[in-house]
Amino acid sequence: MQFPFLSIIIFTPLAAGLILLLVPAERKNLVRYISLAASIIVLGLSVGLYASYDINAGGYQFVERIPWLPALGITYAAGVDGISMPMVLMAALVIFSGVLVSWNVDDRPREFYSFLMFLGASVMGVFCSLDLFMLFFFFELAVFPKYLMIVVWGYPRTREYGGMKLTLYLFIGSVLALVGALAVYFASGLGTFDLLLLEKADFSTGFQQLWFPFIFLGFAILGGIFPFHSWAPDGHVAAPTAISMLLAGVEMKVGAFAALRVAITLLPEGAHFWAPAILALATINVVYGAFIALIQTDFKYVIGFSSVSHMGLVLIGFATLSREGLIGAGMQMFSHGVMTALFFAIVGMVYDRAHTRDIGKLGGLVRKMPWAAVGFIVGGLVSMGMPGFSGFVAEFPVFMGAWKSAPLVAVIAVVGILITAGYIFLVVRRVFFGDVPQELAAVGDVTVRDKIVIGLLAAIMILIGWFPSLMVRMVESGVDNILALLGGA
């Protein structure tokens, strides 16, 4: 048994969340520093593990196993492979950034940070799960922090609607997936929830085709798949900044990741059968999401719909079931996670100072908050897939994979990227350039904490863009395993 690094990553936020609840409510700074310390521990460990992951060996590393309920074959099994390791790193980055940008939350910060930490533990738990039960356990753990944080600290006008909609959509998805997972458990006849053992169980073709949509769609709802995506923009806009960052940045990846880990790897024949349908839906995601983003007047809705569009690329990557597509999807999950977290952070900074998100009322902010403008432009270039930024490394392989398996999809999806360029330029021009409106004359610059967040997230995206091998090789080692399972079919 090696040192339980992953458990520390999962349980540090959980412990911090519990400790926070015991701190007296009026010690607001203590609350903030405890959360910051927890997020730094998680980030530090994630970077350390990322650096020490052995790419040549591949497979699951840093594995821990503790029997949980042997009678039903439930194990606490944590481990990461080439796909989940970047996810852990991305989640750690976003949690850390989320703590920093929420520093000014003044209404019950103790509860705010505590729930934020629970959410962090939930996503880490899902990414590290090697056990189907454990995956669900942590997946569902996110329900209440998401709901309460949106409803209590969210945007007053839409928070009750957006929060409830999001929570119920995602809960329906997860319980549908749960039924599928239980069917898998019983059909395997192995009496175990261990994902690695279940991968080897031979399910009949009919069974796979029947249950694949339950599991895949159940999780993909959280990934924002069309036509079940409408929770995403509403939820993201209603949420407070840090939660928008975590929801769009990390939680949507949790959905996509779980769909990959459970549906595609356990039921490969089902994946082959349903791939065309997923391709079609995901293509609609890309184009429709981008188009709707183009016509939004609310700054935050633009980003909300852009997430729907970009998650479509991840799902296209999955559905190609090819090496290029899956690598692209893995990279896109990381790249989009960081990018959209940055976007939402900047939207939050702008809103906090300008008190409006109406694009028509904003303008010239590059002079008021240059860091935010530069950060937003970097994010925009990433989302357009410009070479030199992580978006290129992610989107190019997706298109390669799509071109090989379904050229039409690639062609249509490229249109989506063009529209993306359109709305990004539009927003950049209207919000950050031009004249400063009268009402915004007194707007101040962002804080040092905000600059740390912008600098960190932007630097990561540029770093990956210039040195793709830092991550592509790792993702590739994870994809190999999935391809081996898919190839059998």
Binding site: E140, L141, F144, V151, T167, F171, I172, V179, L182, F186
Partner: protein, 486 residues
């Protein structure tokens, strides 16, 4: 096997019952002596007594690997009875502590004595192996509960609740008794464990046996408050003293499940296909009616009443699976639900006492007025909604899994759909607590020590059952296995 001779095992087997009788007798005496402010100590005394009984039972009264029929075949000493008895004792202990905070309660001595007698009845229900014993036990449980429901004699709603409960109870127990007497008529035996064999040899037409099952299920359905035998529940919960409502919705329901599980599986194994279908229908109705009526409630107490009907529906999914795994799931669910619902009703008790209302607006601003209390309600509501790492999550998972295993996919889909509806109104309560503002946001003070202790115990129970499954699952599994074992 029936052991004919008198032995110490027989005495040890009914230690919990003996303990309850002694405790009740002492309480009656103390009630005469402590007429002043010392009356508050009665709660502590009852709770401590119950805890002591639990400890002694765990030490000396644990059943062996082989179930024993004792006291002339009236009772059965087995794991099933034992697990359920521990649940009843725990629920009674928590309820007696929660009741201290309920200020409008007078005649406390009688209150606790009635509580204990009812617990005694439940205890016998869970271990009876004879239909006459079973009926007596059910009545011993019910009669004190009728009185408790109408205990606030100054309050019309409480009196109405008591009478309503009595009428419904008497009616359904009469129907059940009719079924039981037919059963005796067909077979000539009252022993549960001989019934199945006698039904086969007596060559009774299947249709008549189905009718008997239906009659018996009326009585059990009333106890577990399954639709369509649920009409009493909301009014009784709302009108009766809140701690009694908590007790009714947990211990009394659990007792109903104890006999439901045992009688159906032991007496009617050949009719499994029939009664599982009936129960699947009851489960569906309970979930749908419970959840949809809960949606419309403005009073948290009524909301919890309807939610507890829906919760019975989820547990019935486990029973409807008709498999050992399903039974285990239902029992685990019961344990989870017991601590959760007790906590929920306890919080309603305190808010009712301090704010003066159990309507939803009374809970507004609770997270500012009493953050700890709000957090406890958060835990209870999420556990009822089935969210990890809380008890209700694993309970739901088990019953759904059992139904998937039994190929009752349609029932699982109904269950899931209802779980979503349920989550909606549980979250609505939390929204009011965390988001809405109240006019008066002064901190809530003066929460008694006994009450805090009991609440902390329940919350710990909810969390522990929600992630440390192994020991409790083993209990539930043992209880499942022992139902059948000869």
């Amino acid at each position: 096997m029936v052991s004919g001779e008198f032995s110490t095992t027989m005495i040890l087997a009914i230690l919990p019952e003996i303990g309850l009788v002694i405790l009740a007798a002492i309480l009656l005496t103390l009630d005469l002596l402590w007429r002043d402010e010392r009356v508050q100590r009665l709660a502590w005394f009852t709770a401590a007594g119950l805890a002591l009984i639990m400890a002694v039972s765990v030490l000396y009264s644990q059943p062996g690997d082989k179930p024993l029929l004792i006291w002339g075949g009236m009772l059965r000493l087995d794991m099933t009875g034992f697990v359920f008895r521990m649940m009843f004792l725990a629920a009674a202990a928590l309820t007696s502590l929660f009741a201290t905070q309920y200020e409008s309660l007078s005649r406390r001595g009688e209150f606790y004595v009635l509580l204990l007698v009812s617990t005694l009845g439940m205890s016998l229900m869970a271990s009876s192996a004879d239909i006459i014993m079973l009926y007596l036990a059910i009545e011993t449980t019910s009669i004190p509960l009728y009185v408790l429901a109408g205990f606030l004699i100054g309050d019309k709603r409480s009196v109405e609740a008591g009478i309503k409960y009595l009428l419904f109870g008497a009616m359904s127990s009469a129907v059940m008794l009719y079924g039981l007497s037919l059963l005796f008529g067909f077979t000539g035996t009252t022993s549960l464990y001989d019934l199945a064999a006698s039904l086969v040899t007596s060559q009774v037409p299947q249709l008549l046996i189905y009718a008997v099952i239906a009659l018996v299920l009326v009585g059990f359905g009333f106890k577990v408050s399954a639709v369509p035998f649920h009409f009493w529940a909301p009014d009784v919960y709302e009108g009766g003293p809140t701690p009694v409502a908590g007790f009714l919705s947990t211990a009394s329901k659990a007792a109903g499940f104890a006999v439901l599980l045992r009688v159906m599986q032991v007496a009617f194994p050949d009719q499994t296909a029939f009664w599982t279908t009936v129960i699947a229908v009851l489960a569906t109705l309970s979930m749908l009616v419970g959840n949809y009526l809960a949606l419309a409630q403005k009073s948290v107490k009524r909301l919890l009443a309807y939610s507890s009907i829906a919760q019975a529906g989820y547990m019935l999914i486990g029973v409807a699976a008709g498999t050992p795994f399903g039974t285990t799931g239902a029992i685990y669910y019961l344990m989870a639900y017991l601590v959760t619902n007790l906590a929920a009703f306890a919080i309603v008790t305190i808010v009712e006492g301090k704010v003066g209302s159990d309507e939803l607006p009374a809970f507004a601003g609770l997270s500012r007025r009493a953050p700890g209390l709000a957090l406890a309600m958060l835990v209870a509501m999420l556990s009822l909604g089935g969210i990890p790492p809380l008890a209700g999550f694993f309970g739901k998972l088990l019953v759904f899994a059992a139904a998937v295993e039994a190929n009752l996919i349609w029932l699982v889909l109904v269950g899931i759909f209802n779980a979503v509806v349920g989550l909606y109104y549980y979250l609505t309560v939390l929204k009011v607590i965390y988001l809405n503002r109240a006019e008066d946001e002064s901190p809530i003070r003066g929460i008694s020590v006994s009450w805090r202790l009991a609440l902390i115990v329940s919350i710990i129970g909810i969390v522990v059952l929600g992630f440390w499954f192994a020991p409790w699952y083993q209990w539930a599994q043992g209880a499942t296995g022992a139902i059948w074992l000869y």
